[in-house]
């Protein structure tokens, strides 16, 4: 069901308010490398996540919804393969034509043979897209600090930070938009019971392509 929702968002077929000044949507790919530090050892997994994102802007307010799903593997016996699904909602206010400030909430689900783990990541987000001198050519800096985060039924996250830096291009006279970025995520998970602290980070290239309608 969730996959259908993401596909619908990507195709822009969901009914959205006609009063919106701009609608955008697209597909994304994230070539991920995950590294985990646990009990003095570092484990590494890789994989590719796919997803879609959509946003509607009404005046200075922008509401965004995105989803990613994919898998991570290759970590050996100490780090079993997992399937990941992430759903993110953002609510932004434009403080300048090129800068958005707002809140972000994300649910991330890790499913492995041993069981399912869910994260709730909640915090603030700042997104800047300054022009780079040519029509449609913009930079991208997206930073999320998620202090109200925790593992569902488990410990809290001492630190949760996501950052994406890159460049975007929307050809003049076209509704298409493309984006290339580098994404980095860091999560420090508190000790819980007999389990010591665990550190995780995700990083890799993000590629997005989509359409943008409206002003």
């Amino acid at each position: 069901m969730r996959h259908r929702l993401l596909v619908a968002l990507a195709l822009g077929t969901l009914p959205l308010p006609a009063a919106a000044q701009a609608l955008s949507g697209g597909a994304a790919g994230f070539n991920v490398q995950r590294r985990v530090f646990y009990q003095g050892a570092v484990y590494q997994q890789t994989g590719v996540w796919y997803g879609a994102a959509a946003a509607a802007r009404l005046g200075p307010v922008r509401l965004g919804l995105s989803g990613l799903f994919g898998s991570l593997g290759g970590g050996g016996a100490q780090s079993p393969d997992v399937t990941i699904r992430a759903t993110t909602v953002t609510l932004h206010l434009a403080v300048a034509p090129w800068m958005l400030v707002g809140a972000q909430a994300e649910a991330r689900r890790f499913e492995a043979d041993a069981g399912v783990t869910s994260w709730r990541l909640i915090g603030a987000n700042v997104r800047a897209e300054p022009g780079l001198g040519l029509p449609g050519l913009t930079g991208l800096a997206d930073v999320s600090v998620l202090p109200a985060s925790s593992v569902s039924g488990g410990p809290s996250l001492k630190m949760a930070v996501q950052a994406t830096v890159g460049v975007g291009f929307a050809p003049a006279g076209s509704h298409l938009a493309f984006r290339l970025g580098y994404r980095f995520e860091r999560y420090d998970i508190s000790a819980s019971g007999a389990s010591p602290e665990r550190y995780e980070q995700f990083r890799g290239i993000v590629v997005e392509a989509g359409v943008r309608l409206g002003r």
Binding site: N31, R35, V36, F37, V42, P130, G131, L132, G133, L134, L137, G139, L140, A141, V161, A163, V165, G166, V167, F169, L180, G181, Y182, F184, R186, D188, Y199, Q201, R203, G204, I205
Partner: protein, 364 residues
Amino acid sequence: MRRPLLALAVLLALAPRLAAQGDAGALIAAARTQLDQFNPDSASVLLERALTPNSGATTAQRVRAYVLYGIAQLTSRNATSARQAFRRALQLNPAERVDSLEFLEPENLLREFNAERAAVVAVAAAPTGGERLAVQVALPSDTTLAVTDGRLPITAVPSRRARAIVAVAPADAPTSVLWTDTLPAGGTGALGWSLRSRDGTLVPPGRYAVLVTAMDSVGAVSQTIERVIVLSRAPVDTQAPPAPLEPSSFAPETLRIRHGSPTAILFGVGLGAAAAFLPSALGRPELNKGLAGDGTAYAVAGSVTVAGLVGFFAGHRVQPLPENALRNAELRRQDATNRAAIATANARARETAAVRVQLEGGGP
């Protein structure tokens, strides 16, 4: 209250059509119905239509219309207009009686009507050696008057010592008097109409009836003499508005400069550096220890930096020129002021244009 208003609106819509058809009888019948329903204003509107020169009313119909109009005016507490209407009816038919209509205005109808009958009879029986009171009217056949202080001279000469009453009304509504004046008995000279109605406003161009009646000291009244004049505005010399400002009249308000803003380079290089150092800046040492730099981060960093450089060298920016913008604004303001002055002058010229007055049937 609402029903009479609705009826009046319907009648106002129907009246021109009935009059255009020359069906004065229908108008009079409709007016009578309105009187029965106690709608004197509606009845008056219909009767004024029936009394227009082009209504095709016969003499008997005109007598009937004047009588009903007088009754409507009595009902509306306008005794002066009522008596004038009765007088016109009796001048057309001195034997006219209104006894059968008394129920429409039981308080005043017979008294007022009979008073006018007495006055008309007194004229007919005036002891002046059989000479009936008459009045002669003289108007310029074609004259032009200034709207500020021009006056149309109206000369009325009674056949014997009597005062002359002059009234002006629209030719198609002779009962709607716009102006009236009286030349005293024994007076000489002309009365002057300033071409304005009672409220002081200049009357619009059109056909107007000049109605002159003489009345002597014993109440004898002459037959009303009617002359029709045509008012029109003399052509005026107005100024043509200036041509719209050409685009070439304006100086450019912006200057297009080759190369984008230096901030494009700053943003490109800055974001590129951020991408390159993101893992080491945000990552934990435990997770990055012993690893070489992240190639994907460098690839993105290079892409962003190149984008910034391309944006700067291939782009352009627009520099505003405030002096030219101010000059253009002043040019537009002057043009608007000039146009407004010309429009005002033209409007004033039209307002003060002289009025040409031609006597209908008065020859060239």
